[in-house]
Symmetry: C2
C-alpha cells in the first residue's frame, strides 16, 4: 500500500505520505443493493479533489448544500469539498453547526430548513452531510423532509459513522422522550469515505468505532472477529490497507442485513442491536456525553454475552474471548460501580427495543450467530448487571 503510517495518539492517528502520482484517485467501491434506492460507497484517501466530479456523476442537478460542524470547518475539510463541487459546476452553499448531540433537535432542524430555503434549494439540490453521526442524522433528516425529499450524499468523518451510518438510511433527531424518536428512512445517493479524515480523529473516538466492528464480527462474521484478534496491534497503528479492509467489511456486513430488512420490519435488522439495550441504559444512566457510544456498546456486549452464558447458550470461553478482544482494543467491559441497579433496569425497560416493558435481547449462540427477540427474565438481567462491576472476572 501507499506508505500510510498510523500513530494512534491523541493528536493524529494516520500520517499520509503519498507520492504525487498516487494522489490520482484511487478508490474502491461497494454497492449497497437496495434496488431503486441502491447506492455506492466509495472509499479512498486524500481524494477530495475528485468529489465534485463524482457528485456530478451521480446527481441530475448542479446545486449542493453542505452541512458540517465547526471542528471540521476549522480543518478546512468542508472547504476542499466545496471547492471541488464548484470546480465541477455546482452552485454551492454551506452551514456550520456547533458540534454535539444536542444539535439533533427540532430547533437545529429548523435552522437547516431556514438555510436550505435561503439557499433556494429545489428538488434537485443535493445535501452533503459531512461529519459524524450527529451531522449525518440531522442533515439526512432535513434532506428527507425538505420539499418532500432531497437527494443527499453522506461524507462520514469518524470510524463509527463510516461503518455504522454509511449503510441503512436511518436519519433523525432526538426528542426529550427518546433518542432518534423523530426520523425517517432516507437512503443517500452515495457515501464518500475519505480515510484521511481518520487521521484527525482522537484515539478514544477511533476505538469507540472499533467496538462496532467487534459487534459485526460477533453477529455475522467470525472471520472478521479473528482478523481483529490477529491484527489488534496493527489496528492500533492501522495502515490504509487495514482501514480499508475494516471499513469495507463492516459496511458489507451491514449492507447484507439492511438489504433484507430495509425498513426494520421483519426483525432481522434487530440483530444490529447486539449489546445495545444494555449500552443505551449505560449511556442514559451515566448521563449523555459521558460515555462514547462504542464504549457503552463494548460494556453492553459483555453483558449480553454473559446473559447468553447464563442461559447455557455459550461457554465462558466465548465470553472471555470477546472480552479479551475488547480489552486488546482498549475498550472497557465493566461499568462504574456507582450506577444504581434500579436506574439501569428502569432505563432498559424504557428502551425502544423492550416492548411492553419486557426484556428482549439479542444474544449470541456462537461467534458469528445471534438470536434476536430473546425474552429474558428480570432476575437474569439483575444477575448480569450485579456481577458486572467486578473487574476480577475479566
Amino acid at each position: 500500500m501507499t506508505g500510510l503510517e498510523i500513530a494512534l495518539g491523541n493528536e493524529t492517528i494516520i500520517d499520509f505520505e503519498r507520492s504525487e502520482q498516487s494522489k490520482a484517485l484511487e478508490m474502491s467501491t461497494l454497492h449497497v443493493n437496495l434496488g431503486p434506492r441502491g447506492y455506492d460507497i466509495v472509499m479512498g484517501a486524500k481524494f477530495a479533489d475528485g468529489f465534485g466530479r463524482f457528485a456530478a456523476s451521480v446527481l441530475p442537478g448542479r446545486s449542493a448544500f453542505l452541512v458540517s460542524d465547526r471542528n471540521l470547518f476549522a480543518q478546512e475539510h468542508p472547504d476542499r469539498l466545496l471547492a471541488s463541487l464548484q470546480a465541477a459546476g455546482f452552485r454551492i452553499g454551506s452551514l456550520e453547526l456547533v458540534p454535539g448531540e444536542e444539535r439533533k433537535s427540532l430547533e437545529s432542524l429548523s435552522v437547516v430548513y431556514d438555510k436550505l430555503a435561503d439557499f433556494g434549494a429545489d428538488r434537485q439540490t443535493v445535501v452533503i452531510a459531512m461529519g459524524g453521526g450527529v451531522v449525518g442524522d440531522l442533515a439526512g433528516f432535513a434532506a428527507a423532509t425538505f420539499n418532500r425529499g432531497l437527494p443527499w450524499i453522506m461524507v462520514p468523518t469518524t470510524l463509527l459513522a463510516m461503518i455504522d451510518s454509511s449503510v441503512g438510511g436511518k436519519v433523525g433527531i432526538n426528542h426529550p422522550a427518546g433518542k432518534n424518536l423523530i426520523g425517517a428512512f432516507h437512503q443517500p445517493r452515495a457515501v464518500w469515505i475519505d480515510l484521511e479524515y481518520l487521521s484527525t480523529l482522537g484515539r478514544r473516538e477511533f476505538r469507540s468505532g472499533l467496538a462496532e466492528a467487534v459487534k459485526y464480527g460477533m453477529i455475522l462474521d467470525e472471520d472478521l472477529f479473528c482478523w481483529l484478534e490477529q491484527n489488534h496491534l496493527n489496528i492500533a497503528k492501522p495502515s490504509h490497507a487495514d482501514l480499508e479492509h475494516l471499513v469495507h467489511r463492516c459496511c458489507q456486513i451491514k449492507a447484507t442485513i439492511v438489504k433484507r430488512d430495509e425498513l426494520d420490519q421483519t426483525g432481522l435488522r434487530a440483530v444490529l442491536n447486539y449489546g445495545h439495550t444494555f449500552a443505551q441504559a449505560f449511556e442514559r444512566v451515566a448521563g449523555y456525553g459521558v460515555l462514547l457510544h462504542g464504549e457503552a456498546v463494548a460494556m453492553g456486549m459483555d453483558c449480553a454475552a454473559r446473559a447468553a452464558q447464563q442461559l447455557g447458550w455459550i461457554g465462558s470461553d466465548v465470553v472471555q474471548r470477546q472480552r479479551m478482544l475488547l480489552h486488546l482494543l482498549d475498550l472497557p467491559t465493566t461499568y462504574a460501580a456507582e450506577w444504581p441497579l434500579p436506574d439501569l433496569l428502569e432505563a432498559m425497560r424504557h428502551d425502544k427495543k423492550s416492548e411492553s416493558g419486557q426484556f428482549r435481547l439479542v444474544l449470541p449462540r456462537r461467534i458469528g450467530h445471534m438470536e434476536t427477540n430473546v425474552q429474558v427474565s428480570e432476575s437474569l438481567i439483575r444477575q448480569v448487571l450485579s456481577s458486572h462491576t467486578l473487574r476480577a472476572e475479566a
Copy 2:
C-alpha cells in the same frame, strides 16, 4: 338509496334519515393500488360504529391516537370513533387542535410529537387524522416521522379532503419560505370516508371541494365533467348516491395518476396542478385565508383555459363551458380588480412549479386531456391576467 336528503344551506347540507336496519354497515371500497403501500378507501354514511372493527382488521397493533380539531370535537365526531376503537379493544388517546392553516407549523408538529410520546406510542400505534387538509397534512407528517414511521388512517371530513388528500400520500407542514415546504410521502393504511360529515360542512366549503371535482373532469374524465353539468342542480342538494358517485370517481381518477407517479418524479402527477399556479398566486396575493382553496382553483382554471385559448389549443366554446359549469356550481371565475398585476406575476414566479423563474403551466388540449410543463411567455400571462377581472367576458 336510503332516504338521504341534502339541503345545501349554511347550516346543514345533508339530512340523514336512515332506518335502524339500514344502519348496518353499508360501505363501498376503492383500492388504491400502490403495491406494498396500497390501501383501501372505504366509503359509507353514519357508520362510525364500525370504525374500530375496521381499524382492527387493517392494523397489527391495538393502540390508536386520534388527532382532530376543536370544531369536530364540538360535534362529537372524534368521540364516536374513539368509542368504537375502544370497543374493539384499542387503547386510545387523542389531541384536539385549534383549527387553521397556521397549525401546519413546526411548533404544532412538536406538540403532536410530545403527545405521541406521552401516550407511549410505539411502532404499532396508529395515528388517526380526522379533519380537513390541515389536520391530515400535520398528523400524517407526524405519523411519517415519529419512530421513523407509524401507520395512519385518514378520516377526511371535508369534500376537498375526501377527493384530494385521500389519495397521494403527501403530508407536510408549512415553512415561512413556502407552503408544504417540509414534508414526506407517507401512504395511509386506509382512508375512512363517512359522507355524514358533509352534513355539517358549510355551503362555501362544500362548493370549494366541487372546484377540484371540476378539475378532475377537465384533466382526465369528460364523462365526469358532463355528469357535473347534468347534475348541478342535484349537487346543490346531493343525495347519498350523488356524493358517493362524486367522491368515488374523483378518488379513482387521482389514484390512476398517483399510481403512475407516486413520488412526483415523472412529471405525470403535475397534471393535478391544472389551474394551481394561478390559484396559488391568487391565494398569496389575496392573503392566506381570504379565498378558499377551491375558489382560487376555479379562478385559476379559468385563467389556464384562456391561456390555452390564446395559444389556439382550445376554442372559446371550451372556455365558456368550463366557466358555465363553475358558475352553475356557484364558484367564482374572476378575481378582485385590486390585486396588482405585478404582485400576481411575482407570486407565480415563486411557485414551486415554476422552476428557474419561468412560467410553466398545465394547459388543456380538450376537456379530459392536459399537457403539462408548457412553457409560456410572460406577455401571455399578463394578457390572461389583465382581461380576467372583466366579468363582462363571462
